[in-house]
Subunit: 368 residues, 4 copies
């Protein structure tokens, strides 16, 4: 077959390998998610199912791609930070960006029904796009994430105020926007407190601070009864190894840790303190459940569902023989990926739980 005659067209492909030894940041964004969230009746200003699904999809990306050190999500966007020395796909930009976007999209559609339990699949296929940005130094990496979290703060405070005025205050969207025009953070906080009896700082951290995905080392299977988080700083509640409360609201909202399962919307039976953010050997472990209380949109059907270690079995039961082969979704589950909703603006994070992210890599990485 005259294959070789045509093969020259391959020579039009260009080499898009990215500069070595700089951080690679891939950010994805939902396309047309304003419409998508309206079509699917997302709760305003935050839909806990939607956020949890985003977080879950992001975690799938991190499970698949070991070189991602950190991820941060807010609204319909997610940022993934790759280690400086990553040689994933020889650092080819298109390959990396398209793989992250495809993984994320695939997981978002795949797990949709686990979060939006009353709809088998979305009403139409959602789409994300992505891009890579290179950051040479630690300063820029910190500032990048600070930039995104500052954005979260600003947007969420605005949205919270806006929807309070619309949904509780009865204003038209136009009137609400006019009312907020020219106000600063203090004004909005004040308004929420006096007019809507809302202490903004008590709202779930997941809404106010977005979601941070971290890799935290876990012990081997045989040691799993003695989980000790390898965090550089002692966190509140870490004495009983299995409990690591994280969000700042945790201590003030006692119901949270025993609260409703974000996936099923049901009230969790779990004793308080057991919603450990520490990933053990379960394929997918999450802290996200603590947010549920703050959500106004959880469905109330009683059936408990969990996206957890028992997932494989459960699917078996549901889907019959064909599902027998169902294997854990991703292969490298041993490296724990945990979700938290904490400040990444400021040094505290980077010298604390995030210290591993910017820690110097071994020299052999620099001189391959």
């Amino acid at each position: 077959m005259a294959k070789s005659k045509y093969e020259y067209v391959k020579e039009f492909e260009t080499d898009d390998r990215m500069l070595r030894n700089v951080y690679v940041l891939v950010r994805i964004d939902g396309k047309g998610f304003h419409k998508f969230s309206q079509t699917h009746d997302f709760a305003k200003p935050n839909d806990v199912r939607g956020i949890n699904l985003m977080n879950h999809a992001a975690r799938c990306v991190m499970h698949e791609l070991d070189d991602i050190l950190l991820a941060f999500g807010e609204s319909d966007e997610y940022s993934f930070l790759f280690r400086k020395s990553t040689d994933l796909y020889q650092r080819r930009e298109s390959k990396i960006v398209s793989t992250v976007v495809s993984l994320f999209t695939s997981a978002y559609v795949y797990y949709w029904n686990d979060y939006f339990t009353d709809l088998k699949r979305p009403l139409y296929p959602p789409v994300f796009d992505g891009r890579a940005v290179l950051y040479p130094s630690e300063v820029e990496v910190k500032d990048y994430f600070a930039w995104r979290q500052a954005d979260t703060h600003i947007n969420n405070l605005f949205n919270t105020s806006f929807w309070a005025l619309v949904e509780e205050g009865g204003l038209t969207p136009k009137a609400a926007e006019a009312r907020l025009c020219g106000t600063d953070s203090k004004d909005k906080n004040e308004m929420l407190f006096t007019e809507f009896n809302t202490n903004y700082s008590k709202l779930p951290a997941m809404y106010r601070k977005g979601s941070v995905l971290l890799r935290e080392q876990i012990l081997k299977d045989e040691d799993k009864d003695a989980i000790i988080p390898t965090l550089p700083e002692t966190l509140p509640g870490s004495k009983s190894a299995k409990v690591v409360p994280t969000s700042d609201t945790a201590t003030t909202v006692p119901g949270l840790q025993s609260g409703p399962d974000p996936i099923s919307g049901s009230v969790s039976e779990a004793p308080s303190g057991q919603s450990s953010p520490i990933s053990i050997d379960s394929p997918i472990v999450s802290q996200e459940t603590i947010m549920q209380e703050g959500s106004s949109t959880s469905s109330s059907e009683g059936k408990k569902r969990s996206i957890d270690a028992n997932e494989a079995e459960r699917h078996d039961a549901e889907e019959g023989p064909a599902a027998k082969k169902e294997a854990p979704a991703f292969k490298r589950m041993k490296k724990g990926v945990v979700i938290d909703h904490i400040d990444i603006i400021g040094e505290k994070f980077w010298t604390g739980r995030g210290a591993y992210i910017l820690a110097p890599e071994k020299k052999k990485k620099l001189r391959p």
Copy 2:
């Protein structure tokens, strides 16, 4: 909020707009699809469900992105050709590539259960990657698609021979490979014919030639009773164009598998209206179902399935009130996208049905 302080990190983003006035080709590939097809028991050498799902996902991409002129799929890859003058996302490479990959992935997972009816969703989320290549001239565009179709020919003939030896001949994979080593096309054809009573050229064109997605113009709504395809050549069955072939109709056209080979140029014996490649006003119109019966791997369940204009309604019925809102999946359905399995090697295609693809664009496009 100290937003501006961090915003400088945006300046690290680079401008990746691609050269103007050249064809943009985006090719996507399944990641780890050898394993994926094994895990899901794909029929060998071709799984008609898998191919049809690929084709459907590709069609979704073309429905969303008007500037795609042509697509070609084989195995786990698909190529999309954008018009020279496209200004989609200002020709930003990452944006275009990631959007195509995300759209394709999303549709693949979304429509999975419509093709793999015995499995609600894949056993794990599938992933694709993608890249863009620029082609300045018509010659390269033709040769690009010739290259991919030549690849299809070579691979499919090999795979057909290999699996005949293994599944029917009882050879081990190793022995089958040894047996085929050093053989040319003629040898393989001969072997299939004498040993396995298989006339390779009579196998479904979809397997031998891959899938070609074309845009074919349709008239406006008010004229839809008088559909006149704007094709340079009259195609079999185009007279009554409103018939949407499904697997049902396929069974009534026994001549199909040995019939209207688009490559040979022979006149089809098919009754008019039953194998029309002409897309009408249905959101999703396809010729693919005609392959279903001809495939040795189609499930034998009698249940009628159709990926067609009735899909929306069907889902309504299945999914209850929540699905009431279900809208057509993509918005720009007016431009008909049809699938065929024809020769795109050689001039005939490019002066015939594909003539619109390389037709000169209006000058204003070149001098914006």
Copy 3:
């Protein structure tokens, strides 16, 4: 020596090969030439020595780099068009751009004293920068050169008017600028004619139209007495093979062809009609001399000088034994490069003398 230990740094180099099969345009610009021309007392609005030196340097670039099809110069800039199929330095952008810029700069300094005969070398080293632009189609190539020549027209008409007001009209620069503010081409032409007795259209074409460098085939050495230009259209005066008048002013300015040598400034002894633009076997052949008459800045010293085939010998005489080895400056002198000052806006050029430039290349170039 521990060489290998460090060699990894080479891997930070990126592949900057430009897309194949598109025109490569390299444009160079003088850096700070406003100051450079002031420092060297360039005549205003045009300094014929400066223009001729630019043209000579450009010709050196074309002599060295066979794949340049066409060049156009005006003011302190020059554009070089490479053939689509060029594989010079594997199309590496930095290599091509830097080589063109270096060649040009080197020739500019090297030949300075041949044009500025009263100054051994410039008062400081002049600098040029450069960039490459890709043009996929013939339309853009034509429009690119039209763009540059339109720029020449506009700038030269303005400058001619401005300096007439300043040098002849006695206005201050500020007043001259104010006077010209808001005027169109017609106004400026009118002003030049009525106030300064200048028919703008009679000014030398080199000033009004810039300089076009063309490759014109010449016969082999043995045939040099029977020079026949291989132009697609018969040009005025081409009957006597050695005469090819080109600029539109040529026919109306009889003294031009026998005019002063632009380099030496002396009056040429050559019989009219012999300043053929056809390059024969001389290393450097030029039409530029015909412009001299229109220049107000030629020095009047009687010594005849020529940058021609005799250059090598002359240098021998001047520079003593060391120069004995002096070889022709560039190696591929056989392909004649001629300079003309003609319209490249409009189709006439591209179907006439420039027809070779956009002529289709042989197929093997497209399918290497």
Copy 4:
């Protein structure tokens, strides 16, 4: 004039700004310098005139472009390191590379006759090409220069041995190459010592180590009588810093060739003031002349030559009235650029004289 009609061609220009906050390294190379050096009878293995001219051209580049921190030259190549934060030409790659190459080429031709005093200009215009490479971290920058200097060591030892065998030993080039085949550094050192009475380590450092161009701060004009170099270590001879060494002074420092080896760190015996690497207030200050005498190829004419502050005056005298206007070649002469021939392999350089190069930049640079 229909300018706007064509201006769209500008949109084909691409944005080639390089990643921010990484080191930019521009390396230039002579094109065809094997032939160039043969044509001009360069001494083998090293031609001191050629090296000094290279160094002078490099210094001109550094004088023009303030953001170059360090340069290193060997043979026909030169590397220029720009500070991380440089915003020269908005970091546009073509602009930066072409400017460096043009500046270097221009200076090389311009100053040719000052170094090759018996030839007014080269026999043909020399050409250089260039490219940019990005280095994110200090480690790579150090290793880059170590890589180039290791190359210098290897090449010079080989060339010295080769030419000893050919010119003194009477071997043919082929025989010399065969003789050296398979030898290591020790073998070559031994051979040079026993057979040619040459102690390789006593050969001029400029040959063995290449040339390092450093920026060393000098005080303001009013303080120039109290020059205090801002170097972290005291250098030999730096006490009376106003002395500009020339070939004259070189002859008075017999110890030089075996003397102040900057690599060994030994204390120089050189009389103070006579081999100072400190740049004072002269436009062009250099240490290079000290090599002249030590070179086996220096011309033996007794005529004193100096590339120094008196250059402008000297040219006046030579070139008559026209040269009156002769200004200092480059404008920013205040920042002293000095040349030395020292070890840049190893930490000593980077913590000593080179410490300023990798010193952290002010924060405002990182957050513009």
